[in-house]
Amino acid sequence: MSLAATAATATAAAERGFLSPTGVEITFVLVGLVTLGAAMVTVTTRQLVHAALWLVMALGGLAVEYLLLTAEFIAWVQVLIYIGSVVVLLLFGLMLTKAPIGRSPDADSGNRPVALAVALAAAAALVWVVVDAFRTTWIGLDGPAQGSTEVSGRFLFRNWVLPFEALSVLLLAALVGAIALSRKNGGAAKNGGAAKVDRTAKVDSAADEDSGTPGASGKEQR
């Protein structure tokens, strides 16, 4: 059945060229350009908070792409979890680490040219392979929706129950771990300020200092 479907899509794609795009394709490409642009600004901007806000735009564009691919439930999950919680967490992290509000000239590290070369090489290789492999493949978006909430609930709770439950345990463990990590050295914030002042003097012996500081601060607290 799968083979027959593949053959059918191949013949369907053969009569649909790239030069006569459908409306869905035009929308997909336009939203994709916006998404890609927002992602590029996210990784290149020098203002840290702006990077998080551009990330919202990239993730929202991806949610629209999911909608265009008829994966409706995943689009809303994307909006809820990524835009709703992950970006907010990132913004909290930026604020808690006292990220500078304006431009920070040292947002990029020294290996920027190497990173650019690696990314361009990877992009060229991946795009070449992908275009060469899927040039004639056609996704039929007609028919019943593939990812409506009803379909998603059905396959998730009929075929994927055990991974789903294991994943909820993993999420719980991760959140408990995050709480434990951020709470263990609650008293080290005082020492963090002190350590920041003479950080330059202690950087080369930082390993000794950091192994010593949390324990000492914990003893002081008790």
């Binding site: 479907a5 899509t9 790239f18 997909f28 490409v29 994709g32 890609l36 992602a39 996210t42 990784v43 990077a51 998080a52 990330l55 990239a58 993730l59 991806l62 691919l69 008829t70 994966a71 995943i74 990524y82 990132l90 992290g93 680490t97 920070s104 947002a107 990029d108 290996n111 650019l116 990314a119 992009a123 991946l126 795009v127 992908v130 275009v131 899927f134 493949t137 996704i139 978006l141 593939q146 990812g147 379909v151 998603s152 998730l156 075929n159 789903f164 993993l170 999420l171 991760a174 771990g177 995050a178 709480i179 951020s182 263990k184 050295n185 963090g192 300020g193 950080r199 950087v203 390993a207």
Partner: protein, 117 residues
């Protein structure tokens, strides 16, 4: 829709995230780039699931799992970044090189100057 469009978009987004992971200095920006890479993979999974149309919907189920794991990862990652920031007063990943191997043990002065700079 041609499968090439979502596949190419996913490849380009992945490489954007790759550049961000390699080039950024702030650890939180590195985490943002990791999110971009995960999202590129999610787009691939959804596109291929819609193309293959298997009854298990493995692609979409895996996408949901990846989203949940990304949420867990960002929680743990931010907790670690905050802890490093409290201990060091900085969240720059290229300054955290305590466990790096010393390249030339007979030139400690140059190494120390580089670390402080």
């Amino acid at each position: 829709m041609h499968l090439a469009y979502p596949a190419v978009l996913a490849a380009l987004l992945f490489c954007t995230g790759l550049y961000g992971v390699l080039a950024r200095r702030n650890a939180i920006l590195v985490l943002m780039s990791v999110e971009l890479m995960l999202n590129a993979v999610n787009l691939n999974l959804v596109a291929f699931d819609v193309w293959i149309r298997d009854t298990l919907h493995a692609g979409q189920a895996l996408t949901l799992f990846v989203i949940a794991i990304a949420a867990a990862e960002i929680g743990i990652g931010l907790a670690i970044v905050l802890m490093v920031y409290r201990n060091r007063g900085s969240s720059d990943v290229d300054r955290l090189r305590d466990t790096a191997e010393r390249a030339e043990p007979d030139a400690p002065a140059a190494e120390k100057a580089e670390v402080i700079a």
